[in-house]
């Protein structure tokens, strides 16, 4: 079993959406390299609860295996921390060393208001999907699954984009707080499949408009979003979104 080591933490504490927040210092000396980052925070919370002086630190998580998209910390200025293609919950303490100072902040964007401490409200993403991120098919009305063959490479690429877990790291890391990668990924998934084709234009325009309405920033092609995306989704999705948007606009009134 590995030796334990010590880390210094600066963690954002904020009581509620309208309250001011600040970074608070903690020192944890029972860190084990096999712990996940969230387990490290669990251990810290247990200490805080045992001491009883302040409330434990709130942060979001559920699956703890990198798939639900709940976890969302900005660690030392990087959304989901230093490791590529990794969610906060899959980041392990072996990526840090004894004596490190680690700054932990929530995802910051106007469209993601802080609920408490490190927990933010990402329902804007749901509303973007609601605007058109689906194929309108009634339950039970589908033809046989093999009736439409799909080129394997098309299906595979659609899958690559469909792996987005909706975590919001792209927004958190984007200097403009743009939701283009998230929106682009869903569009790139559905728009390239024959099932998604009939609603392609309508979907693209509606989702882009919703993204504006939620108060996300524009995309300046920084590609920082791609760098932090735990699923490595390429910003080609964003370019594709623009292409479809232009086509839809030029196509005029037809839906």
């Amino acid at each position: 079993m590995a030796d334990t080591f010590t880390v210094h933490l600066k963690i954002w504490r904020q009581d509620g959406p309208d309250q001011p927040g600040k970074l608070v210092d903690y020192t944890l000396d029972k860190v084990n390299e096999h712990m996940s980052f969230l387990e490290m925070l669990d251990v810290l919370n247990e200490e805080i609860v045992a001491e009883g002086k302040e409330e434990p630190i709130e942060f979001d998580y559920d699956c703890r295996e990198g798939i639900c998209g709940s976890c969302n910390l900005v660690i030392n200025g990087q959304a989901h921390g230093p490791k590529d293609m990794t969610c906060t919950c899959q980041l392990h303490m072996r990526n840090f060393s004894d004596g490190d100072t680690i700054v932990i902040e929530p995802f910051r964007a106007k469209a993601f208001p802080v609920i408490k401490d490190l927990v933010v409200d990402r329902s804007a993403f749901d509303r973007i999907i609601e605007a058109g991120g689906y194929v309108s098919v009634k339950t039970g009305s589908a033809p046989d699954a093999n009736s439409i063959p799909i080129d394997k490479t098309v299906a595979d690429t659609a899958f690559d984009y469909a792996t987005c877990i909706g975590c919001g790291a792209c927004v958190a890391a984007c200097p403009n707080s743009s939701a283009s990668l998230f929106t682009g990924a869903k569009l790139a998934h559905l728009n390239r499949l024959p099932q998604g084709e009939p609603e392609r234009k309508k979907r693209t325009v509606a989702m882009v408009e919703q993204m504006d309405e939620e108060g996300f920033g524009d995309c300046s092609n920084y590609a920082e979003c791609e760098a932090v995306c735990p699923k490595g989704i390429s910003i080609s999705a964003i370019a594709e979104m623009r292409r479809n948007y232009v086509k839809a606009t030029l196509a005029g009134t037809e839906a």
Partner: protein, 639 residues
């Protein structure tokens, strides 16, 4: 208690279609007038909410997570079964049905299981139409693979993220209904009680997890799709927020809890690394298609696994079960892992692990082929353990994974409380004493897309539903109940953390109500759980306040329920004095260590009725006899 299963008469193949013909319908313009509450947005809840809303009902949907898309179903990796027979390897609906019944060790209802197999094909059609990007062959058609417990390739998959893709399909269908105003979505809401008026489920009470407010919701029917209760074991492959609270509170309101002791333990998980461990990670079962499971023959062999020659390796599954080898069903694989570890052959720092070795597969097919199949799983393993599975065997160990038990339901998926429907892992319905791989997704979606939407209509059309109001005393009582439980939790003000209690409960459950159970152990477990529960209510510390986001408070409520459920699980396991499927009573095994059933005495569903708790949990046992008219009961054998 009335446990009428309402199974339609007639031949197995015709029951469901006949039932559909007989079902009462609600006129389209009347559907608008009916509210349906759906608790849970996993595969079962999401698909039910979307389909009900599409039909025209006013749906109110609830989940704990901040988005419907994050329900625990998202984590399912391996795949979903269907009897499409696309690979032309002889699969049929009957065969899928038969495998499921047999896999469940003849402890499920024939009629439900057959219907599941029947509907399976429609699910695939539905998902593909939604744009779920299942794996495809170069010819452009869907690909299939084989999964534990089956000799045909009937599993559809989307790399190692099948659950994610299916859930996103259901979630998107839901969001479409949200945008059309047919679904009112309430995320970060936890159901804390069921409201029963005149014997019918008429609403729920929830806590807004952000503001802490206790709220009341009214409806004509309630669908509970709140998932499984594997987290009673503290460490499991379930997501951290998975819990039994919604189901348990319904149980306390009169819904029977069926077969609570049927817990599936998954053989291929990443072993525990330390006491800070918060959950266990599953490595998809599909790995067993190519990985070979072994331990060193010599207990004290502490060589690096790569240095141990073949003749000194014990490929115990291949030796004991030549026909199925590494692909034996989960319970068999898990039990055997435990046996070799108990015998001291376990590997790794804790001795609680076995090897899953890809050396031969890599030699045979090349690293590229293996990485195409399992790349993301290998990366996940390496990320968690820091070991490279291309170069040395994985270390795996069983972990609690799925619960076959759940609220009792009839053929309509209605519980014994009229108007309370239960779908997905939360009900007990289709898997008997053991669930086959890739069939939970199938069941959740079958319940949600294709069964509940019809059977609810039947209920609503055939029931007099009086006007009720949120001021009804039943609502007052349920809301007070929820609030007073919260107040009580704060009042204890002890000095042991909620997580500490949960961990201790988990340890008792794992040691005594886990892979192998004995009368003695179960009795100990029952009294230890009672003591722990007593201690909990005297010494738990819940920090913070109730009028704010407070994860510890949420967990405290759930642990309190697990502390009761745990006792029921042990009681059920104790009363079931036979072995079947995942339930292995040490007293009842074949010479080969297989579960030895006692069909004479135990061929029934154990449905427990809550009577109260005072130190001890009081439950009354009711039995629904299982009749097998179409299959012959056999001793399961995977030799």
């Amino acid at each position: 208690m009335n446990l009428d299963s309402k199974v339609p008469s007639g031949p197995l193949e015709e029951k469901w279609s006949k039932h559909l013909n007989d079902i009462k319908l609600v006129a389209p313009n009347n559907k608008r007038k009916h509210d349906v509450i759906v608790v849970g947005t996993g595969l079962a809840g999401g698909s039910a909410a979307a389909s009900l809303a599409e039909l025209g009902y006013n749906v109110k949907s609830f989940c704990i997570q901040d988005s419907a898309r994050r329900a625990h179903s998202i984590a399912a990796q391996g795949g979903i079964n269907a009897a499409k027979n696309y690979p032309n390897d002889g699969d049929t609906i009957w065969r899928l049905f038969y495998d499921t019944i047999k896999g469940g060790d003849y402890r499920s209802r024939e009629s439900n299981t057959y219907r599941l197999a029947e509907i399976s094909n429609e699910i695939i059609d539905q998902a593909v139409a939604q744009g779920v990007p299942f794996a495809r062959e170069y010819g452009g058609l869907l690909a299939n693979r084989s999964f534990g417990g089956a000799q045909v390739s009937r599993t559809f998959y989307a790399r190692g993220q099948t659950g994610q893709q299916l859930l996103l399909g259901a979630y998107q269908a839901m969001m479409r209904q949200v945008s059309e105003g047919n679904i009112e979505m309430h995320t970060r809401h936890e159901m804390l009680d069921l409201v029963v008026i005149d014997g019918k489920a008429r609403g729920i009470v929830t806590r807004d997890l952000v503001s802490g407010e206790i709220q009341r919701w009214m409806a004509d029917a309630v669908v509970l799709a709140s998932g499984g209760y594997g987290n009673a074991f503290y460490l499991s492959t379930n997501a951290k927020n998975s819990n039994v609270t919604a189901a348990w509170r319904c149980h306390k309101r009169g819904a029977a809890f069926a077969n609570p002791c049927y817990v599936q333990i998954h053989p291929t998980c990443i072993p525990v690394s330390g006491d800070y461990q918060s959950k266990l990670t599953l490595m998809s079962e599909s790995l067993r298609n190519d990985g070979r499971v072994w331990v060193p023959k010599d207990k004290d062999d502490d060589r690096h696994p790569n240095d141990i020659p073949d003749e000194e390796r014990y490929y115990y599954l291949e030796e004991k079960y030549p026909a199925f080898g590494n692909l034996v069903p989960r319970d068999v694989a898990s039990r055997n892992a435990k046996i070799v570890c108990d015998e001291g052959m376990g590997v790794g720092p804790t001795g609680r692990a076995v090897y899953l070795d890809f050396r031969d597969a890599i030699e045979r097919e090349g690293k590229k082929a293996i990485s195409d199949k399992y790349g993301n799983l290998f990366e996940m393993y390496e990320n968690i353990t820091d070991d490279n599975p291309y170069e040395e065997p994985m270390r795996i160990f069983p972990a609690v994974h799925y619960t076959m038990g759940g609220l009792w339901v009839d053929y309509n998926l209605q519980s014994n409380i009229p108007g309370l429907f239960v779908a997905g892992e939360a009900n007990f319905s289709d898997h008997g004493a053991n669930r086959l791989g890739a069939s939970a997704l199938m069941q959740g979606l079958s319940d949600g897309y294709f069964i509940i939407p019809y059977t609810i209509g039947n209920y609503i059309a055939g029931t007099d539903l009086d006007e009720v109001s949120k001021d009804h005393e039943a609502f007052d009582e349920a809301a007070d109940n929820a609030q007073s439980q919260i107040d009580k939790l704060f009042e204890v003000d002890g000095d042991k953390s909620v997580i500490e209690f949960h961990r201790e409960l988990g340890q008792i459950m794992w040691d005594k109500v886990g892979i192998s159970r004995s009368e003695e152990g179960l009795k100990e477990a029952i009294s230890e759980i009672q003591d722990l529960r007593e201690e909990f209510w005297n010494n738990v510390r819940v920090p913070g306040e109730s009028s704010n986001y407070n994860k510890y408070l949420e967990f405290a409520g759930r642990v309190a329920d697990f502390l009761e459920l745990g006792e029921l699980m042990a009681k059920d396991a104790l009363h079931r004095d036979e072995s079947c499927g995942c339930h292995l009573r040490a007293e009842h095994q074949t010479e080969e260590g297989e579960a030895l059933r006692n069909d004479e005495e135990y061929s029934y569903v154990a449905a427990w009725e809550f009577q109260g708790v005072n130190g001890e949990l009081q439950e009354e046992l009711h039995k629904e006899d299982l009749e097998f008219d179409f299959v012959e009961l056999k001793q399961r054998s995977y030799k």
